[in-house]
Symmetry: C2
Subunit: 705 residues, 2 copies
Amino acid sequence: MSPPLTKPTASLLTAASKPPPPLCTFLFLIIFCIVGFYTLYHPNLNPRNPQIAMRYRNLFLSSSSNSTLSSYLRNLTRHPHLAGTKASLDTTNYVYSHFHNLYLETHKAEYKALLSYPVHASLSAHFSNGTTFSFSLTESETSGKVVPPYHAYSPSAAAYAKVVFVNYGREKDYRALGVMGISVRGCIVLARKGGELSRGGVVRIAESKGALAVLLYARGERMRGGEEGGVERGTVMRGVGDPLSPGWAAKEGGERLGMKDNEVLNKFPKIPSLPLSFQNAGVILRSLTGPKAPLEWRNSGGYSVGRVGPGPIMVNFTYRGEEKEVILYNVFAVIRGFEEPDRYVILGNHRDAWTYGAVDPNSGTAALLDIARRYALLLQMGWKPRRTMILCSWDAEEFGMVGSTEWVEQNLVNLGAKAVAYLNVDCAVQGPGFFAGATPQLDNLIYEVTKKVKDPDSHVSVIYDNWAARDQVISIQRLSGVDSDFAPFLQHAGVPSMDIYYGRDFPVYHTAFDSYEWITRYGDPLFHRHMAVAGVWGLVALHLADDSILSFDYLSYAEQLKRHKAVLSKFLNQSISLNPLSDAIQGLALAAKEAENEAKILRQQEARGDFIALKLRALNDRLMLAERGFLDVDGLQGRHWFKHLIYGPHGDYESKLDFFPGIGDAIFRSTSKSRENQQTAIQHEIWRVARAIDRAAMALRGQFT
Amino acid sequence: MSPPLTKPTASLLTAASKPPPPLCTFLFLIIFCIVGFYTLYHPNLNPRNPQIAMRYRNLFLSSSSNSTLSSYLRNLTRHPHLAGTKASLDTTNYVYSHFHNLYLETHKAEYKALLSYPVHASLSAHFSNGTTFSFSLTESETSGKVVPPYHAYSPSAAAYAKVVFVNYGREKDYRALGVMGISVRGCIVLARKGGELSRGGVVRIAESKGALAVLLYARGERMRGGEEGGVERGTVMRGVGDPLSPGWAAKEGGERLGMKDNEVLNKFPKIPSLPLSFQNAGVILRSLTGPKAPLEWRNSGGYSVGRVGPGPIMVNFTYRGEEKEVILYNVFAVIRGFEEPDRYVILGNHRDAWTYGAVDPNSGTAALLDIARRYALLLQMGWKPRRTMILCSWDAEEFGMVGSTEWVEQNLVNLGAKAVAYLNVDCAVQGPGFFAGATPQLDNLIYEVTKKVKDPDSHVSVIYDNWAARDQVISIQRLSGVDSDFAPFLQHAGVPSMDIYYGRDFPVYHTAFDSYEWITRYGDPLFHRHMAVAGVWGLVALHLADDSILSFDYLSYAEQLKRHKAVLSKFLNQSISLNPLSDAIQGLALAAKEAENEAKILRQQEARGDFIALKLRALNDRLMLAERGFLDVDGLQGRHWFKHLIYGPHGDYESKLDFFPGIGDAIFRSTSKSRENQQTAIQHEIWRVARAIDRAAMALRGQFT
């Protein structure tokens, strides 16, 4: 609060630098006193004045530019830039220079992590008549510069066996096969992607059934532009981050576990796998004999699947990959907070891509670079954010959120105490329609901001209107998935998080066709959707960085938890009590109400010009820390790196809950427990969640018992 | 900072309440402005002015009173007040009323925890000639009102067997017996207390050797006053806190594990044990035949032990106890901070006692009550602490820090974010000589404060002088033990902690002779030592509550870590690298130096009257949070509730390190690992400690990478 006082002082004293007559001095003194008090007490001259803040926010919105966004994306996507490759370094430097040239405080954080690359892959089919068909694993993708389709961290191995089609590869699909008398033991399984399982989950279940290898193809929905030949790359590692430094940062020279360490071995599948194009999958599917596929398997995304195998053709499968420790680069631009440099609002997007990465992730990178440009403009116009903003460009997300995870692990104590929110954008523009995921205390802020940003696909309305028109009840997704860089921030560090994008399920996902051309032809020809995402992203961040009281609404969280509880109750029998959960949610709602009232009072005091810097700080700290309460030090059973008990991934099983992952485990994971013991385990997990909500409420209330 | 401004404003406006002439108004306005600025900028009128703070501290010291302390102790120790009993409730109410009558904000936090009480115990010896000797297990203790000597949480069981003397009951003692060809399988073991093992550790090792029961006697040093008959009660539970709610608060109606749950069963020994008086132990020792005891066993604390047994006498051992869930009461007095109510300086002492508890713990309780009285006096004189102070009176410490542990578990998020320090006093006065334990960043503050407080045993000097005269190099112990309520605060929550006392190894420990009379005859007849402890305790707390910059010196921590490293290096072979540790310690020292420089600059700015409230807060937060860095989310292997990697308990083995418990585990715990695997495990634990120190340094530096 000192600058408004000292600034006029300084200028007035300069004006009086040649000895003035005594009366003048006296008058000056009076004016000085009055101006001083006026500055202190009259909110209109205060840089935290809402009008002034609004002027900066309007400047942010009006300085958006689609041509700039387009040129950023063009520059970012000239070459494929897989993490750990030379081309990736060029992209790193491009982002670094961009921040640096804007005179932002720029730096890199390097880690040395184990990534995985393909060396050789082949697949051929041997028909009973002696003929052989060699699949081209890359021909469908025209560019020779992209990495051949593969699954990162797949072990190197060969298999020569019959094929069984296993639908989505879920436990229940194997049960259906079992009913038909089909076992996959000693076979290669062919699965389609979809359902609730991750890529690695499909492989892991196949492994547990005795399969020798896995072929995975993506659903063949009609692609705009005829790129049906794309093959979906991806990682099959379990968990996130560098596999050799689980739980700690992979600093150069730091500790690494050996490749034979059990904790490391557990992260990788033991059988190899390869992604397959839809066409190649069709060749195999059509050749299968054996029992008829169940009705709901038949329309397998375009093909009519007839029979599940095994055989009669024999498939020869070979994959050789190589694991390498490579240097990763996270790039940061930091805008130091003026009043609260030790509170962070973090914007993040990854930079590495399987191929050209125009959608995934560089539509988001272009938005990030444009936000940086516009923030730099605001700074030139005199803007000083209250809190520190960190713009992050992550490396190696595609291999399992490696860059962001290592950084979060290294900075855990500081993030835990200081991170206000993490705002993620991965594939910013995949098509039409606004989508948002967030922890629920951010919902209202997102609604408000989308009422300020123009809708890219209409001439009159704001994003919110079209969003509301599409969804009957506007829905913000919850961040239980481990599919982008919010995972370490939310699920490991308990930082309130957001993830936004335009469109979803884009057809060129992880293929060689994810290029600038695809964006300009289909995804966002005018780059207005890019503008929209950048607008929402940057504006949410501006609010969190500048608002004297954080726009965190925990009533919204409590309401969401109530709905989660209602869904959960459908899967429980009467012996299980949900009372602990009800009580805890009620407690959170009460604490939220109190915090809201306190915020009201502080806003009044602030409007009066009272000195309440430490009171604001105390309330904001509680709003920030409440989310940490949902962390449990022991984490989820069997994957204890995941500490968040409300939102986190379920394991390799089909869960009907995309929240309360620990409770989901206890209900849906197959177990050798007796029924009574399983009920006890479910009740215990309910208690754990209830206690987590209690902790959040206590952190929000800020009182000790 | 508003009061200095608003106060004069208010009074001046009152003086001007009848309409004054315009010139007067004008002059008033000028004076008002000038006074306002003067108040803001001139430090002498500021309540945070060092001189004013010093006046309050002097008032604190001068208001000390030995007669008051004596009367508090008298009142607290009229009856035995074992936790969970009716008499204990009286003590609870006494402390509550005391706080309340001082007009302090007073409250209780209740928990329902599983404690353990004796129902029946008997012991008799059957001689080969057919005669029987029944030991009186209580006769030596004259008072019938105290609980009979027992081991809390010992299982109920009987045994009829020969006795083997096992010295301290350590692994190496059993090895020595093995060399003599003696096994304890099927025998009752007789052990003396001492060495590195906890009571529970002795029982657990005996159990692992196949013993049927354990008799434990305390060393028979010559007691002042002839109370050699005392028998030492104690707990044999493993770990701390309510055994049925491990890791969470034992709130009424909250979750409880069943008694058959493995986690619960693991906390209790499987064989029964009883404490024995020195005299009764002598009867058995003298009867033993068999091989001669090793030389260093012979002088067993007064007795010359001849032979180790087994037999020939048969001993009939019976113990029946009862576990009960009882209500525990922690009592609190809270003095809200004026500027930073959301930062806590916590003073704690337990209230429950095995018997009368005059030394253990009520000498400390008397000091706490006197500090409350003196703080209340300061408040009346206008003192407003900058930060919140919490005076805590814990229940059921004797059973395993139950009261404090449940509270820490319940308030973990708030404590993690807000607790500046925990200052413990258990047995305040045990005899002559000042002793202190602390985390090393507190060392200098303790030195400074002991230079201000009069030495109780001399007429001229301060505590520091006599302390320095006794120890050639003043030594402050480190808090690795789990023997008082600092354990949950430091070892689970990472709060900088202190523990101080006068005298040590007092002879009436946990016996019926720990009474007011013992204090007035031997421990502290004039209550000057009580005054000294209260003085140091209260003054350290005043500094931490009022100083604008926390007196935390992390250079001292780094120096201590260096010395720890030097000791550790003696137990390692050349294949182990200590470089990670050296680098991390150097990093911490650097960060400490930077923090010190920053503090210097801020002190200058403060002296100039700059507004630096948020800057001070930011630095203090870093000083506070650095200790949290030493926590590791996974904790110590096999006892993961203990999260602090620098200070924490070792397991049931003899460790030569009383720091780095995880490294100690890897070195000294007997293991079935191959030599190579053991070296890998040691190196891994060294890495973990190095990363913990890195985290502390990063928290202190407050920068992200």
